[in-house]
């Protein structure tokens, strides 16, 4: 027997959008912090300094 039911494929996470923004925004900020520290590290050990690299003009 086959019945043509309309299956409910739309699984919705409860409070989906709120949880998503709650995860995304803080971790975005964490990312910027990481990159800041990384840049400081590079400059400290003189591996890559941006001002020295802009001498293409």
């Amino acid at each position: 027997l086959e019945t043509s039911k309309a299956f409910n494929f739309c699984y919705k996470t409860p409070f989906g959008l709120i949880r998503m923004t709650a995860v995304e925004v803080p971790f975005l900020y964490v990312g910027t912090l990481i990159s800041k520290n990384f840049v400081a590290l590079l400059e400290e050990h003189d591996i890559f300094v941006p001002e020295d690299d802009d001498d293409d003009d």
Binding site: F27, L28, Y29, G31, T32, I34, S35, K36, F38, P50
Partner: protein, 337 residues
């Protein structure tokens, strides 16, 4: 050695037989007496004269074979000196129809159908009955031996024997005892169902718990993935717009993307599974489920076996219940999709 001697003996007897007829011919050369002798020996032919052979009769004079699924008889018509094809319908035509067709085709023709022994076959005989053995077709006093081909569509008609009797007795027995048997079987299945369900209930509870924890863990993996993506996004955005420029960052981003694709291919190589989100999540779910099962000592194999048995019993019951209420024959087992 003995084989060749036997052959010589056979040939000798044959030769002697033919010699005897020849001898008869020589001693009584008068044609009339010879024919009289012939007439006396084969009285069944009546007043017709026929060709007689002293050796074995030739195998087949006329071709009767199946062409494109239809039975075809090739007959040489005497007045036109040409061969004519007659398409026969074994189940519908009888001997009388065939003779009528032959006469309609060639008006100077007289035909008769004889059996192998020379006895005349009735006009109402179906051609199908004729096809079992060779028969003779006599056209204008010329006797042709016709050999029918191998039967293509044989009917299953046969003389009743002990097997048929057994079959009928079996049918009677089934008809008398089947409903009772069905009810008995239904009761057995219901008992089995109860047993299985009783055994399954504690296992079902544990399985539900394990599923819940596994689901929680795999969901956590997904959200962690989400977090990592936003970390990467934030770091690269900061580096691009606030620290270095895009010209510095572009190669970095390209190599990060390339690294990701290497990772995805490595996922396939290690797991033999395509990296698609639903399947990957299911894989993680199963991983956590089995880990939890091992810790809580949950026998997954036993659980699976019980579930399969339960499905079988339920299917059998379903098959059984309909005819018991409707008195119809049982349906066959369907292959599971």
């Amino acid at each position: 050695m003995s084989f060749s001697v036997r052959m010589i003996g056979k040939v000798g007897t044959r030769l002697r037989g033919s010699l005897q007829t020849l001898h008869c011919g020589f001693t009584r050369p008068h044609l009339a007496t010879f024919l009289e002798q012939v007439h006396h020996r084969h009285a069944a032919l009546g007043s017709r004269r026929a060709l007689l052979f002293s050796t074995l009769a030739p195998s087949c004079d006329l071709s009767l074979e199946y062409k494109h699924g239809r039975l075809v008889l090739e007959v040489p018509l005497p007045s036109r000196h040409e061969k004519c094809l007659f398409f026969l319908r074994p189940m519908l035509m009888n001997v009388g129809d065939l003779i009528t067709d032959l006469q309609r085709e060639d008006s100077g023709l007289t035909a008769a159908v004889l059996s192998k022994d020379g006895e005349r076959v009735a006009n109402s005989t179906l051609i199908e009955a004729l096809l079992g053995k060779d028969f003779l077709l006599v056209i204008n006093d010329v006797c042709y031996n016709v050999c029918p081909p191998e039967k293509v569509f044989a009917t299953s008609e046969h003389a009743t024997d002990i097997e048929d009797m057994k079959h009928v007795v079996h049918l009677l027995h089934t008809a008398l005892h089947l409903p009772e048997h069905h009810l008995l079987r239904e009761r057995q299945l219901l008992e089995k169902l109860d047993n299985l369900k009783q055994e399954l209930t504690p296992l079902e509870k544990m399985k539900a718990q394990l599923s819940q924890t596994a689901e929680f863990h795999s969901s956590r993996v997904l959200w962690t993935g989400m977090a990592l993506l936003s970390v990467q996004g934030g770091a690269l955005a900061w580096l691009t717009w606030w620290v270095y420029s895009w010209d510095v960052m572009e190669p970095v981003t390209y190599f990060i993307t390339y690294g990701t694709s290497i990772g995805i291919f490595a996922y396939y190589v290690l797991t033999k599974q395509d990296y698609v989100y639903p399947d990957a999540k299911d894989r993680q779910f199963l991983h956590y489920f089995y880990k939890g099962a091992r810790k809580r000592r949950f026998d997954v194999k036993r659980y699976n076996e019980l579930k399969e048995e339960l499905a079988e019993v339920e299917e059998d019951l379903r098959r059984l219940r309909n005819p018991t209420q409707l008195q119809l024959p049982l349906e066959q087992i369907q292959p599971r999709p």
